[in-house]
Symmetry: C2
Subunit: 524 residues, 2 copies
């Protein structure tokens, strides 16, 4: 396919003459064609109007038809062929195997939501039958189902050009819920975005859906995204990116005449707890696995382990030496963008110059836009008193914290901001301490792991990729896994409506054969 450099507005291309930009190949260190044209106000309005026009139709096609549409998107993405992988490699600096895996993940994610649609619990169908004889007042027939919330603005992430971008988790969940989607492409991979956007456009046409079900806006600068979130048609926002960017969108959404929900997945340093028995028994294994996790994908994961906590002493010192030595053997890797690379260098330099921060090891020296893996250590007292040490530095850098005793370990835990994950490296002898940590971690994070590492986010039913602010803007939800569909649904009650006016999900005959809750009890 030829990449045109224009936004996709429903079934058409924009003809905008907005600010021109190009993609950038961080491996070669140079811009790559073609020219991309930033979408303008007219594009935003057109895309949002089409989304609104498509909404009532799209949200009420059968769940089976919506499931097939999601599967069709996956097929159309696959049909792009190797061109997609090659373009994504050039725009992201990520290796082929990673991007092929990510394409598989993206398609599996669409298929998971197709399965969710067929299973039917997402309707939350509830029926409280009438009780005409009830005293003192009769009870009326009352039924509840979830409906789609409205057109959704999705902001593609830089670090997953496929799985968290144009056809990524936010888009898949919103489309599954019955919401039209207007994507703001990430300017770090505009060509990849256009290719995937056209695959969705093809799936919309092949599924005979209204064109407004999907649009893709391309562009640089903050104005485009702000205009999109301000558009009155938009009813919720999905975002994965920086804390600064997410908080800015939260403010825009809250300042609207009608405020709307924002699901922003932002900032996390994902503490790893080295509990004493595990540390005594398995320091070497854990050190190696930790460095694997911390340097994977040049550390460019939301779940990258940026903090390592333990009790001061010989075992902790030993681990620090092992991990420091391990990291010096790791190669530098190309980062996604020049901006991310600059922020990483700045963040590492800032950590290095803080009082009581010691360098434990640094990997092979970097060239071009590569990041050098780096490991620091500090004391719990320094961490508690210096907010710079709590800030996320996106990339392959971690900070080890030696706590004087268990009380200080718990104190550091209470001091943490909200996180996506927390990980316990633990053995049988650590269970008492784990039991003291668990309630504190439940309050702070979305996912608690034992003897795994947080990188590697399974796309399944029981995943929570979320957590208290600033990990996300809304801890009541997840941005990965099947529960993500609930972000884009809202309940509606029907009182005393005739069977032939009720939606299929609420009819007594249960034509969709879904779970219905009658008088509070599930059945089908």
């Amino acid at each position: 396919m030829t990449i045109t450099g224009q936004s996709l507005i429903g079934s058409s291309y924009s003809t905008s003459n907005g600010t021109v930009f190009q993609a950038f190949d961080p491996t070669l260190g140079k811009e790559i064609g073609p020219n991309f044209h930033t979408a303008d106000q007219r594009d935003v309005e057109h895309a949002c109007d089409l989304a609104q026009a498509a909404f009532d139709t799209y949200r009420e096609i059968s769940p089976e038809a919506r499931a097939r549409f999601l599967e069709q998107i996956g097929q159309c993405i696959l049909d792009i062929g190797d061109e997609l992988i090659v373009r994504a490699m050039a725009e992201s600096g990520l290796p082929r195997a990673r991007l092929e895996g990510e394409r598989g993940r993206t398609i599996a994610q669409l298929n998971l939501f197709a399965a969710v649609l067929r299973e039917g619990s997402w309707h939350d169908a509830r029926i409280d039958p009438a009780m005409p004889e009830r005293l003192p007042l009769p009870r009326v027939d009352l039924r509840l189902r979830n409906i789609a919330i409205g057109p959704i603005a999705v902001f593609g992430a830089s670090n997953f050009p496929l799985a968290f971008s144009v056809a990524g988790g936010d888009t898949a969940a919103a489309l599954a819920a019955g919401c039209p989607v207007v994507v703001k492409a990430h300017p770090a991979h505009p060509g990849t975005s256009e290719l995937v956007g056209r695959a969705i456009q093809q799936a919309v046409a092949a599924s005979k859906l209204p064109e407004g079900v999907f649009s893709l806006l391309t562009g640089i600068g903050n104005t485009l995204g702000t205009m999109l979130v301000q558009n009155a048609r938009i009813q919720a926002v999905g975002f994965t990116g920086s804390r600064q960017g997410g908080v800015a969108l939260m403010k825009v959404a809250a300042a609207r005449l009608q405020p709307i929900p924002v699901y922003a997945e932002m900032s996390s340093i994902n503490p790893i707890y080295l509990l004493p028995a595990a540390l005594a028994a398995r320091a070497e294994t854990i050190a190696k696995a930790f460095v694997d996790s911390a340097t994977m994908g040049a550390g460019q994961f939301c779940t990258n382990p940026g903090l390592v906590l333990g009790l001061a002493g010989a075992d902790f010192e030993h681990f620090a030496q092992l991990a420091g030595k391990e990291i010096t053997q790791r190669s530098a890797a190309t980062m996604l963008t020049a901006g991310i690379h600059a922020a990483y260098r700045h963040g590492v330099a800032a950590l290095a110059e803080q009082a009581d921060v010691k360098l434990l090891g640094q990997g092979v020296a970097a060239e071009g836009y590569q990041a050098t893996p780096t490991l620091f250590s500090t004391s719990a007292k320094a961490f508690l008193s210096n907010p710079i040490l709590s800030a996320e530095v996106f990339g392959p850098v971690s900070l080890m914290i030696a706590c004087e005793n268990e009380a200080e370990l718990l104190q550091v835990t209470e001091h943490l901001e909200g996180q996506l994950t927390a990980t316990l490296q633990m053995d049988e002898g650590d269970k008492a301490l784990a039991r003291r940590l668990l309630p504190r971690l439940e309050r702070k994070v979305g996912r608690i792991l034992a003897n795994n590492f947080p990188t590697g986010v399974e796309v399944s039913h029981a995943m929570v990729h979320g957590g208290p602010f600033p990990a996300t803007s809304d801890s009541r939800s997840t941005s990965v896994g099947s529960a993500a569909i609930y972000r884009f649904l809202r309940p509606v009650s029907y009182q005393n409506l005739a069977q032939d006016l009720l939606p299929a999900a609420l009819q007594d005959a249960n034509p969709l054969r879904i779970w219905q809750r009658r008088d509070g009890q599930l059945g089908r």
Copy 2:
């Protein structure tokens, strides 16, 4: 019981010397003792600190223990005896039968949540078992459950001194979810609030729970509520009241360092659609039932029908005459507060002086703080062009709108802001028009009724008392019914944790005997 006039901080009383105020009897038109002392900053911090201290314990007591605690609260409220009814009558001007009914509703609401806790779906327990043989990567064991979100600030409503106040729907849902609650009492019924607060205090003690599970702050002015929402311990807000008040709290919550969810139920004019066949067949019956609904409780319901829509013509004129005549026969009734009464008089006067607004009828003239039931009519064109006609006037006033044709009826529908309810008065011959209206109404409201009236909000599983802004601040939820518990929960994932570290809801042995979703399929 002697009413002390002080806030309840955990198991103690405040000793605040804050601004003194008294309750007001709107029927007698005079203040009633004792003096109440507005809680101060120290009270807010103390209550929130106790709530935080109670949180980890309270959220993890067994669902059965929490269910019994809710039932115990109901018993303690009943044990106050007639003193509660007498005090609530004096502070609200509401009649005995209404308040006795409301007490029953309050207790039934607590018992409904007790049943929800025992049924167990609220855990949303999900288990994705490990697949060690999966290729290319093994799958880890992953489990998800909902946990309580944290201490909640609840603002009592003026119009339901029992069912939407200290032990009302928000408190019941939050306590059920496992959240400690700090209530800001409504200053219109401070004595009623203290009596109910002490009943909850007794139930906390009788259930041997940490004292911080419940506190009650009393006071006048906006400072107290603002301080409460700003307190870093508070993790969500429940509010029922005016649009102005709700929007102010939304802004405070969004401006926090850590923004938090606000569930504000605010403003709705609850349109009634008179469809042609029903109007032709049953004008007299519908007119009488409509006036019953519009004047019930002096019109002081969130679901009061403030708007009546139909197609211009002889039948609609006839209905307007019938309803206008009916309303002239209705008595004035005492309103809840002097402020609500003043706002009602002002709102009715403002409507009366708008261009193209005609008075159809007015009830028996008012005395003291009574409201005169009033019915106006206007044209669709006036309604579409004048925002004053869309604003809620809290009290027994409604506005009839004659639409020239179906297109204009649909246009007025699209023009409406978000509403709690919309009602179709319809017969078999109206189904085609109903089918055109339904998708539009689903986008606008939380509950759609046929041939009922919106006043009378059933407390059950399928109720949605919510809707798009400005009906509420968050259309993804309900403030009445069992689904309200989900407002105060958030999901947490557990990856690869040993069985004896997992919460009971996620253990393979399923000791709670609840529904668990394994690999996406429900079972137990």
